[in-house]
C-alpha cells in the first residue's frame, strides 16, 4: 500500500529544513527526503548565516546551534593585480547580545537543523533520492517516486527544496533547468589554523569574526568574487564566477582560486594553514528575472531551486529559509480552511513572498545581474586597476605636484573608458541599484 502524507519535502538544506520544521510544528504529517547521507552532507556554502530569519523560525536557536563566530567586521576589497582598495566596517555594536550574522559550517549546522526537524515530528529519510514527481490525470502533483524499492509515496502537496539544479522540477517541466548565465560555480577550501593565529591575524577575540569579500582582478574580468570567512579554527576561502563566463574565458575555477590565494593581500592571511577540504557548488545568480513559477496544483518550489538568491548582497540561505517558512505557512492556511492544494489556493505563498523582503530585494536589483554580466570586463578588471592607480597616485609622495597627479588619475580613467563610457556605466549602475 502506498503511504500518504500531508506534505513531502524534497531536500534537507536550508529551505527544506525551514519548510519541514514549520509544517511539522503546525501538526502536519511531513516526510522529508534527502539524497545525502545526512542533512548538510551535500552542502558547500561558506557560510554566513543571518540570525533574524532563523530566529523567526527557531527563536532560541542560539542555545544549541553550532555557530562558529559572530561577525563584527566586514571588508569589501576591490582587487587590482597586486593591490586592493578596501572599505572596512567594524563596529562594537555587532557584539550585541543577539548578534545579527554568524559564520557557520553547513555540514554541522544542517545536522542540527535536521535534528530540530525530527524533534518537531517530521519523518526524515536520508540516502533516499526522489526520482520523479507523480501527477494525476488532471496534472496535479500527488507524490513522488524514490529510488528505494516500493518507492512511491503520496502527499497532498510536495515542497520542492531540491537545490539549484532542480532536476525533479525541470524533469517534470515545471521550470527550465538553470542556464549558464544564471548560475555561478563556486569553489571553496577550508584552511585550518590555530584559533590564536586567526584571532591575531584578523584582530578579533573570543567568538568575533571577520568577512572579506573581494572582487576585481582576481576574477580575470569575469562576473564573480572571492571571499575569506573566519570560522573558529579555520578559514573558508573561496571564489565564484558565472558558469557562462568560465565557458567564454576558458579560466578554471580552481585556477582562479589559486590566483586568489596567491594575491599579495590574501596570501599572508592563509600562511601556514592546512587545507582539509575542497568542494564546489553552483549558486543561482539570475536574480528576480530568473525566478520561475513558484507553485502549481499540488506543489511549491522554494530556496535555490526557485533561484531565490540575492547575488548583489550575497544572501541566499536567509532567502531560502524564509521562502521555506512562508511556503509552509501558506500550505498550513490552505489546509486549515480545508481547501485543496491547488495552484489558486497555494498562490498565498508567492503573494506572501512578494510582500516579504525576499522578492522586494530581488526586484530592487533585477537589472544588476545582466548589467554586471554584459559589462563584466569594465567592472571587474578595468575599474579596479584604475582605482588602484588613483590610490597609488594619491598616497605615494615623490615630489610630483598634486595637481599633476590628479590630472594623471583623471586622464587614466578617461583614456581607458572614455568620458561617455564612464557616464554611461555610472548611470546604468545607479539605475540598477535604485
Amino acid at each position: 500500500m502506498v503511504e500518504k502524507f500531508d506534505c513531502i519535502v524534497v531536500g534537507a538544506g536550508m529551505s527544506g529544513n525551514a519548510a519541514a520544521y514549520t509544517l511539522a510544528k503546525k501538526g502536519l504529517s511531513v516526510l522529508q527526503l534527502e539524497r545525502g547521507e545526512y542533512s548538510g552532507s551535500k552542502n558547500v556554502q561558506g557560510a554566513i548565516m543571518y540570525a533574524d530569519m532563523l530566529e523567526t523560525i527557531i527563536p532560541d536557536f542560539r542555545e544549541d546551534a553550532p555557530l562558529e563566530r559572530h561577525l563584527i567586521e566586514q571588508r569589501f576589497w576591490m582587487m587590482s593585480e597586486n593591490a586592493h582598495t578596501g572599505v572596512h566596517y567594524r563596529s562594537d555594536s555587532f557584539n550585541e547580545e543577539r548578534p545579527n550574522r554568524y559564520t557557520i559550517i553547513r555540514s554541522q549546522f544542517d545536522k542540527w537543523f535536521s535534528r530540530k526537524v525530527k524533534e518537531a515530528g517530521a519523518i526524515v529519510l536520508t540516502e533516499t533520492t526522489a526520482l520523479e514527481l507523480i501527477f494525476d490525470a488532471y496534472g496535479a502533483c500527488v507524490g513522488v517516486r524514490t529510488d528505494r524499492e516500493g518507492g512511491l509515496v503520496h502527499a497532498d502537496v510536495v515542497v520542492l527544496a531540491e537545490g539549484v539544479n532542480g532536476l525533479l522540477g525541470s524533469r517534470a517541466g515545471l521550470r527550465e533547468p538553470p542556464k549558464p548565465e544564471t548560475v555561478a560555480l563556486a569553489v571553496k577550501e577550508m584552511h585550518f589554523l590555530p584559533q590564536e593565529t586567526i584571532e591575531a591575524r584578523f584582530n578579533v577575540k573570543g567568538d568575533e569574526g571577520v568577512v572579506i569579500e573581494a572582487a576585481g582582478a582576481v576574477s580575470a574580468g569575469m562576473t564573480g568574487m572571492g571571499f575569506v570567512y573566519t570560522n573558529k579554527e579555520c578559514l573558508s576561502v573561496g571564489m565564484g564566477c558565472l558558469v557562462s563566463d568560465y565557458a567564454r574565458s576558458g579560466e578554471t575555477p580552481y585556477g582562479l582560486l589559486e590566483k586568489f590565494k596567491a594575491h599579495p593581500s590574501i596570501k599572508p592571511l592563509l600562511e601556514g594553514s592546512e587545507v582539509k577540504e575542497y568542494s564546489a557548488h553552483l549558486i543561482p545568480e539570475g536574480g528576480y528575472k530568473a525566478v520561475p513559477q513558484l507553485c502549481g496544483d499540488g506543489w511549491v518550489v522554494v530556496g535555490d531551486a526557485a533561484q531565490l538568491n540575492n547575488a548583489v548582497h550575497r544572501e541566499g540561505s536567509n532567502l531560502a529559509m524564509t521562502s521555506g517558512r512562508i511556503a509552509a505557512e501558506a500550505i498550513f492556511q490552505v489546509r486549515s480552511r480545508k481547501e485543496k492544494m491547488t495552484k489558486a489556493n497555494l498562490k498565498r505563498y508567492p503573494d506572501a513572498l512578494e510582500a516579504s523582503f525576499v522578492m522586494k530585494d530581488l526586484r530592487k536589483h533585477k537589472d544588476m545581474p545582466a548589467l554586471l554580466h554584459t559589462n563584466s570586463r569594465n567592472f571587474f578588471l578595468t575599474y579596479p586597476e584604475l582605482v588602484a592607480k588613483a590610490m597609488e597616485n594619491f598616497v605615494r609622495v615623490d615630489g610630483t605636484p598634486k595637481k599633476e597627479k590628479e590630472s594623471a588619475t583623471f586622464a587614466a580613467f578617461r583614456k581607458t573608458r572614455g568620458l561617455g563610457g564612464l557616464v554611461n556605466d555610472a548611470f546604468k549602475l545607479a539605475r540598477a541599484w535604485r
Binding site: E3, V124, R148, V153
Partner: protein, 283 residues
C-alpha cells in the same frame, strides 16, 4: 531462528581529521557510520532470516546518539533494535564492553528467545582490537567462529552450521553446533538497500533503550572505566615526513629524464651511489 547482531557506531575513518595543532582526532563534525565489518554480519543475518524465517535483533552499546546507527540497521531490515546506554559504561575497554554486551544478550534471550547465532564484525575500524566478539563468546559459553567469510548452511533441525573461515594459506570449512558466535570478514555479503516501507518503519520505530540496570547488570565494578584494566597512556600522531617530494622536469627525451632522476637520487643518497658504483666495478 533468532539472530543477534552486535554493531558499533564509529567515526567514518575515510573522513576523519587529525587536529593540525593538538594532533588529536577531531570527532566533532566527523560523520559516524556503522562499523563496516558489522554490516557484513548484518547482511548475513538478514539473508538467513529471509531464507529460514525468524528475527534479527541488532544490539549496540554507546551514547544516546548511537540510536542513529540502530535506526539505519532497521532501515536495512532488522526486526528490532536495542541500545545499551548508561553513564556507567563510559570509558569501557574491550573487557568491560564484552561483559556488558554479554549481559545484554542474555537479557535479549529472556525477552525474545535465546539467540541461535550471535554475529559481530571481525573488528571495529576505530579500536581495531578484534577482542569484543571473542569476549562475548567466552562469557556466554558459545562456540567461537572468527574471521568467517561465508555462512554456507544452517540446519535448524540438526542444530548445526557450516561456515568458511579465511585462514593463512587457504580457506577452512568448519561446522559447529548451535548456538554459536560468528565474527564476519569484509566482502562477504554486501549490505542491501532497505525498501521504502522498511525506511518508513525504521523512522517510526521505538528503539528499546536499556540502562545497565535494565539489562540486569548489577556488578557495576565490571563496567566502564572501573571495569577496564586497559589504560591509554599516551596518544600521538606519527610525525609527518620532513622531506618534501622533489619534482623533476620531464625532458623531451625520456632517457634524459631518466638521467635526471638518477642524478637526483644519487644527490639525495650518496651512499646508494657508492654502493652501486662498487657493485658496477665488481662486474
Amino acid at each position: 531462528m533468532h539472530f543477534v547482531v552486535c554493531i558499533k557506531q564509529v567515526p567514518d575513518s575515510a573522513q576523519i581529521r587529525v587536529h593540525p595543532v593538538t594532533n588529536t582526532i577531531m570527532r566533532q563534525g566527523v560523520p559516524t557510520i556503522i562499523n563496516p565489518y558489522d554490516l557484513f554480519s548484518l547482511e548475513t543475518a538478514l539473508r538467513l532470516r529471509d531464507e529460514m524465517g525468524g528475527e534479527v535483533t541488532v544490539l549496540t552499546m554507546g551514547p544516546p546518539s548511537a540510536e542513529d546507527a540502530l535506526r539505519k540497521a532497521l532501515t536495512y531490515g532488522a526486526d528490532r533494535a536495542v541500545l545499551l546506554t548508561d553513564r556507567f559504561f563510559a570509558g569501557s575497554d574491550t573487557l568491560a564492553t564484552s561483559y556488558a554486551l554479554a549481559q545484554a544478550i542474555r537479557k535479549i534471550g529472556d525477552a525474545w528467545g535465546a539467540p541461535d547465532i550471535v554475529f559481530a564484525g571481525k573488528q571495529t575500524i576505530d579500536g581495531d582490537t578484534a577482542q569484543v566478539g571473542p569476549g562475548i563468546a567466552r562469557r556466554l559459553e558459545l562456540n567461537q567462529l572468527t574471521y568467517i567469510s561465508r555462512v554456507t548452511k544452517v540446519d535448524a533441525e540438526a542444530r548445526t552450521v557450516e561456515l568458511e573461515r579465511r585462514a593463512e594459506g587457504g580457506t577452512q570449512v568448519l561446522s559447529s553446533s548451535l548456538p554459536c558466535l560468528v565474527t564476519m570478514l569484509e566482502g562477504s555479503a554486501e549490505i542491501r538497500r532497505g525498501s521504502m516501507a522498511g525506511a518508513l518503519r525504521a523512522a517510526r520505530a521505538e528503539i528499546t533503550t536499556w540502562s545497565a540496570a535494565d539489562a540486569g547488570i548489577t556488578d557495576l565494578l565490571k563496567c566502564g572505566l572501573r571495569g577496564s584494566p586497559t589504560v591509554v597512556k599516551r596518544v600521538f600522531a606519527p610525525a609527518p615526513r620532513a622531506e618534501k617530494a622533489k619534482q623533476i622536469e620531464v625532458k623531451a627525451k625520456s632517457r634524459e629524464t631518466a638521467d635526471d632522476l638518477i642524478e637526483a637520487l644519487f644527490e639525495a643518497k650518496p651512499a646508494m651511489q657508492a654502493d652501486l658504483e662498487q657493485l658496477a666495478a665488481g662486474l
